[in-house]
Amino acid sequence: MFGLELSFIWAGIIAFAVLTYVILDGFDLGVALLFPVTKDEGERNVMMNSVAPVWDGNETWLVLGGGGLFAVFPLAYAVVMPALYMPIILMLLGLVFRGVAFEYRWRTKGWKPLWDMAFFGGSLTAAMCQGIALGALVQGIEVTGRAYSGGWWDWLTPFSIVTGIAVTAGYALLGATWLVLKLEGRVQAHMRELAWPLTLATLVFMAIFSLWTPFTEAVYFERWFTWPTAIFSVTVPFLVLLCAGGVFYGLRNYHDATPFLCALALFVLGFAGIGISFYPWLVPPSLTIEQAAAPDESLAFTLVGTLVLIPLILAYTAYAYWVFRGKIDPEEGYH
């Protein structure tokens, strides 16, 4: 009984790490996705500087998501990684290009356009691959014994492509609303305009994803269309519309923080929706949370430190955000 509880606590912690990753790196990937919107070097500089002090901490949540899965659900990790081989490798390569662009961009004049491209292209690749990986996971992973037994291209389907576009559109929305919050002047006005179509695109793709998901697995269908869990089917879309309304309201009334916070809430809701479908699976339709869990000794040992360290991490991360609060000063930067 105790072991059962531990694995569920851990599923919650991993879900929290992944959600935190998605909303934090989501907006800084989104900022990169919006780079082509302006050709002006100064404007690109402030866009990048709005995330430069925090992006590294944001991306660390991805390492925690992967590392945490390895630590407490090694079987799930061992099954999912080979199944998503290509999107994972492509995502990593994308993140390599984008990560180095933060420094390289300032170290060259002639090659600056190249690193701008790397920043945008790397982020686009990473965002698409993360969405595709999510879609592939939702549609199910084939397992025989303790190993992945599906095909090489199983991850590539119309459904996973739609998920990829949905996540990318959502990240761009997060990036645009973040820039509305952090910048002033011409770029801000531009982002405020862009946030409208991006919100609509995010809503449309969320709707397609949500309507499609129940038809990829019988159990999802049951979860969303039978009592009592069908209650989610009514409430979640209602809340989504409420949040989208919040984005529009904030944009129209020049409340700079509201659109960003409402866009974050949209992601939380989408994530909750996926959680509702998945439970109690970790890798549908093959592994439940319990089956994939490491022995109790591993779960307990890791949990002790995690319960101390995660609040500490959240505290100093919040402090770092506090230090760099307010609008970006175009003159500032360490480069």
């Binding site: 630590a71 420094e103 190993a147 490491a294």
Partner: protein, 470 residues
């Protein structure tokens, strides 16, 4: 594709390639983070402008190196799953928690405070900025601690049991973390990181001294780096010797390969200085050797018997040639570092530390020696533990993911192309930054006011001027 290129071989090449690229950056950034903390502390304490100049100079280089370390490390953390998923499943319950602790306690700390260290001095003030710099340095050391604990456990597994599905399960965490080779490996690696950084800092300083030996910042950093070399190199040689004895106790086959001992020596083994290991004939060709010395070094007794590879089943033997040579590269560089350190000491005693062009040229030449030694050392220890991933318990061949050779080949090619391009560019930018003299902001005439007024920090760092962006 030739048949010999199996998925296993390709996956091994891929791991070796990505980890070799990765190790270079932490080796540099562990040392550099501590150096930055020391420089920042000395500046706050003495208000000597040279320290401030050096801090700002190395800070930018650190940022580029750290960025490369982060992205190449990210790749590593996922590779256990993509290419070595059987290892991940089996060793995950033991290895995974240690890596999770690395992320939670160290990685977040570095990443969280890096922003404040790089961009925040004017926002948080000197005290908190110092604290952030110290946190980054502490984070890099903590990170090394966890990673070396994991790595050491794979070499000298302890505190585990094996369950009914063949997974390693933790029995005693204390024994797992503090496994027999961990303390030796950790000390050896951290000292190696400090030496690597000292050599780079020394080379850059020497380069600038050769052009202008009155540059105060260059003088200061050259002096610091020479002190570091002559103090740390002897410590490192001692630590390396202790590590070797530990390896002999727990992984004798590795030491046999390092020493080139194909045969057992019942009455004292010679030290083979040079030679060409011939694994077909099971002997070292053209060997130059000193009788009995190997026994003296390893057993502290001239006539102590020493077992050879003939006592190890063929299937469990590591490849001798690579281990033999990489070990010699590391040792030779270690002694060259010692020589440079003592040369520096001698020049200092004669009061010619800043006026010794040949010393400076030697220091420039030795700049990359730390990286080469670190890589050689890792090759020695990692190739030397083959054919196992978990020593004696899990074979490399049995750790592989169910992936096909073309997939691993494609991703390997992608990594090679991207790494050479991306990290090549990074190294180029770092070298270009190093080619610039460390100069205090005031001398460049970029600012109107005095460098500091009444002991307070100037409002803007030199590097915040757009003219310096290049």
């Amino acid at each position: 594709m030739p048949d010999a290129m199996t998925a296993e071989l390709l996956a091994r090449i891929q791991f070796a390639f990505t980890v070799s690229f990765h190790i270079v950056f932490p080796a540099f950034s562990i040392g550099l983070a501590s150096y930055l903390a020391v420089l920042n502390g000395l500046w706050l304490w003495t208000r000597d402008e040279a320290y401030h100049t050096l801090f700002n100079y190395w800070k930018k280089i650190f940022a580029v190196a750290f960025g490369m370390g982060v992205v190449s490390g990210l790749v590593m953390s996922y590779q256990f799953g993509t290419n070595w998923s059987v290892f991940a499943d089996k060793a995950g319950p033991v290895v995974g928690p240690l890596m999770a602790y690395e992320v939670l306690s160290a990685f977040f700390l570095e990443a969280g405070f890096l922003g404040i260290m790089l961009f925040g001095r004017n926002r948080v003030g000197d005290g908190l900025h110092m604290a952030a710099t110290a946190m980054v340095a502490f984070g890099t050391l903590l990170s090394a601690t966890w990673i070396l604990s994991v790595n050491s456990w794979m070499h000298t597994p302890a505190g585990y049991g094996i369950n009914d599905v063949g997974q390693f399960v933790p029995v005693d965490w204390w024994k797992i973390v503090f496994n027999p080779s961990f303390p030796y490996r950790l000390v050896h690696m951290v000292l190696a990181a400090y030496l690597t950084t000292a050599l780079v800092v020394g080379a850059v300083a020497a380069w600038h001294l050769l052009h202008d030996n009155r540059n105060r910042a260059a003088r200061r950093s050259f002096s610091m780096s020479m002190w570091m070399l002559c103090i740390v190199t002897p410590l490192q040689i001692f630590a390396g010797d202790q590590h070797g004895l530990n390896t002999l106790e727990h992984q004798p086959a590795k030491v046999m390969a390092m020493e080139g001992h194909y045969d057992s020596h019942p009455d004292g083994a010679p030290l083979i200085l040079f030679g060409i290991p011939n694994s077909e004939e099971k002997r070292v060709d053209y060997a130059v050797q000193i009788p009995k010395l190997s026994s003296l070094i390893l057993k502290h007794d001239l006539n102590a018997p020493l077992a050879g590879l003939d006592t190890i089943p063929e299937a469990d033997q590591p490849p001798v040639g690579i281990v033999f040579w990489s070990f010699r590269v590391m040792i030779s560089l270690g002694f060259l570092m010692l020589g440079l350190g003592f040369w520096g000491l001698w020049a200092r005693m004669r009061d010619r530390l800043y006026d010794a062009p040949w010393l400076h040229r030697a220091a420039v030449a030795m700049g990359p020696a730390g990286f080469v030694a670190v890589l050689a050392g890792w090759i020695t220890t990692e190739v030397g533990r083959q054919p196992f991933t978990v020593y004696g318990l899990l074979r490399t061949a049995d750790s592989l993911a169910p992936v096909q050779a073309p997939a691993v080949a494609a991703s390997l090619i992608a990594f090679v192309v991207v790494y050479f391009f991306v990290f090549g560019a990074g190294v180029y930018y770092i070298l270009r930054m190093m080619a610039k003299e460390p100069t205090p902001a005031a001398r460049l005439g970029l600012r109107d006011g005095p460098v500091r007024a009444a002991g307070s920090v100037a409002a803007h760092d030199d590097d915040q001027n757009p003219a310096m962006a290049e």
